[in-house]
């Protein structure tokens, strides 16, 4: 049995029973990476020695029965916008190509405390800006289900690594769908928690009012286990919520009979790939069979979400990325004076999509335009949030497709940025409202590409989302299928 193909909860069982060791598990993962990453390109940085070291320490703790975390000894990959002390962190950008952080992100600290083994850093769209991992300054990651297709983005590397068993689980970040959409493209489970549920300290910021850290896993139980370790107040993050953290794993097995599931009509419109619509509707039907009550609802301001997102997120990003100026860290271009150094460093250090968004955001905040763009967008954002608030009066969860199509081909959408933005339509509103949502596999298209179904919950109600997702998953077999990684 290939140990790398285990889920976290299965591997954890075997580790605790001392049937396998963390070193064996970690070795298996690195072997898998060696065998497949030449074709998938999920990883930017690997540190095998450090990982084995962590594995050895985990084994010692397991032997001494010191520590009960389900993550003890488990190899986990991190998207390369999580700061890892002493381990290169690039944000997928040339401007940080050699940057070695002096500190760990808070969520990384939590993983280390739990005894997880950090495998390495995965590829992403530069500064998390993109939906395909094609905007990485280094190389695009390939979808393990079809190497000519994108894995989704921006957490494309993490999604691909999980799908290809190059780790047992991974962390990603989600600002406009960057965990959920690649999870759908790669047939894995991707959870974006409520804004404020998980600390953002040490995550390279893109849009401060939307960024969230979340797990990308092989099944829903693993997602619950990881969320348990990540969730909770962090004094280093003023926007992290001071709310009690429930037992997510225990919540998986509650009943779902009578749960009211809303299906918004705005999410089933023309332009959707027919197989996607069918698979999601079948998924909803399955929930109904299990006792859920299905309701038609409306989220009337959905059509404005992309415009709102691309004003607010780019405005925040334009400010967050000002610190990448070559003065204290990162790439610095040689130039004759300060202003030129700024301008050339940032022109050479940032890729096209990042520059485009910085320009858009700067424009939206600039004198004379603030009211027309930023201020207006934040108000429409309030309307979008209100839509969900009203919908949740009559339902407990909302189910939609995660993306309008399955993974497209590399290079297919890079010509028209606006087209790329519009494909985020199903995930973006959730970030705007700060709600939690999970994407899990619900079928495949005729080409064998995975289809994702999105379950959205009320603020801080990850437990219900995970419970329903778990029930659905256990009643179906989608999560058991694995890609055959070969050239086609």
């Amino acid at each position: 049995m290939n140990l790398a193909s285990l889920a976290v909860h299965d591997a954890g069982d075997k580790l605790r029973k001392r049937e396998i060791s963390s070193v064996e598990l970690t070795d298996a993962v690195f072997e898998r990476i060696a065998a497949t990453d030449g074709r998938i390109h999920a990883y930017l940085t690997l540190d095998r020695e450090a990982a084995l070291d962590q594995a050895r320490r985990a084994d010692a703790r397991l032997r001494a029965q010191d520590g009960a975390s389900p993550l003890l000894g488990i190899p986990i990959a991190l998207k390369d916008n999580f700061l890892t002390q002493g381990l290169r962190t690039t944000a997928g950008s040339r401007i940080l190509a050699e940057f070695v952080p002096p500190y760990d992100a808070s969520t990384v600290q939590r993983l280390r405390l739990a005894g997880a083994v950090i495998v390495g850093k995965t590829n992403l769209d530069e500064f998390a800006m993109g939906s395909s991992a094609e905007n990485s300054a280094f190389f695009p990651t390939r979808n393990p289900w079809n190497l000519k297709r994108i894995p989704g983005g921006s957490s494309g590397g993490s999604a691909a690594a999980v799908a290809a068993d190059q780790c047992l689980a991974a962390l990603g970040t989600d600002t406009g769908g960057s965990i959920r959409q690649p999870a759908a493209c790669c047939g894995v489970v991707g959870l974006k928690p409520t804004y404020g549920r998980v600390s953002r300290y040490g995550i390279i910021a893109f849009a401060s009012s939307m960024d969230q850290v979340g797990p990308m896993t092989k099944d829903v139980r693993d997602s619950a286990l990881l969320l348990q370790v990540l969730a909770g107040r962090d004094p280093a993050d003023s926007t992290s919520a001071n709310r009690p953290v429930p037992d997510y794993a225990a919540a998986l097995t509650g009943a779902i009979k009578g749960i009211r599931v809303g299906v918004p009509k705005e999410y089933f419109v023309s332009g959707m790939q027919p197989e996607v619509e069918k698979a999601v509707r079948d998924g909803i039907h399955e929930l109904e069979k299990q006792g859920a009550v299905i309701l038609d609802i409306s989220l009337p301001h959905t059509e404005y979400a992309v415009a709102v997102y691309y004003i607010v997120a780019t405005a925040e990003a334009s400010s967050n990325l000002a610190r990448y100026d070559g003065m204290r860290y990162g790439y610095r271009a040689g130039a004759k004076d300060l202003i030129e150094t700024y301008m050339i460093t940032r022109d050479e250090g940032f890729g096209a999509e990042v520059k485009r968004r910085i320009m858009l955001g700067t424009y939206a905040l600039s004198a004379g335009y603030y009211d027309a763009y930023y201020s207006k967008a934040q108000r429409v954002r309030a309307l979008i949030k209100r839509d969900f608030g009203e919908a949740f009066q009559s339902c407990d969860l909302i189910v939609t497709p995660t993306a309008p199509t399955t993974a497209f081909k590399l290079g297919e959408k890079t010509q028209d940025p606006l087209q790329m933005y519009l494909s985020d339509i199903y995930t973006i509103s959730i970030n705007l409202a700060g709600l939690p949502a999970v994407s899990l596999p619900c079928g495949f298209d005729p080409e064998g590409m995975p289809i994702g179904m999105q379950i959205i919950g009320e603020h801080y109600d990850e437990a219900t989302i995970l419970r329903v997702a778990h029930h659905y998953e256990q009643a179906t077999e989608w999560h058991k299928r694995k890609p055959r990684i070969e050239d086609r």
Partner: protein
């Protein structure tokens, strides 16, 4: 046309981005296209709507205590150019 090349240049200077001529042309077109799309928001009446806020109650502020362990070397480890314990940066040439 919502956006002129001059405006794009103004914004580029604000954002400290040198743009090549090709970049400027391409960006002007792309941004214009995107901004035109943003006009959609004008369809809505938002005169009575307050701006969005998150569902997070106010948190405790930080106590006034020194908690940092100084580590100048760690701070300077990634600097492109240094002079002793200073970050060394180019000057503005008047």
């Amino acid at each position: 046309m919502k956006l002129t090349a001059e405006e794009v240049q103004r914004v580029a200077v604000l954002a400290r981005l040198r743009l090549t001529r090709e970049e400027r042309t391409e960006l002007t077109e792309q941004l214009d296209h995107i901004l035109t799309y943003m006009d959609k928001l004008g369809e809505l009446d938002i005169s009575e709507v307050a701006p969005f806020t998150h569902a997070i109650e106010s948190n405790e502020l930080r106590e006034d205590k020194v908690t940092n362990q100084p580590n100048t070397e760690a701070l300077l480890a990634n600097v492109p150019d240094r002079d002793g314990n200073f970050f060394k940066v180019p000057k503005i040439i008047e």
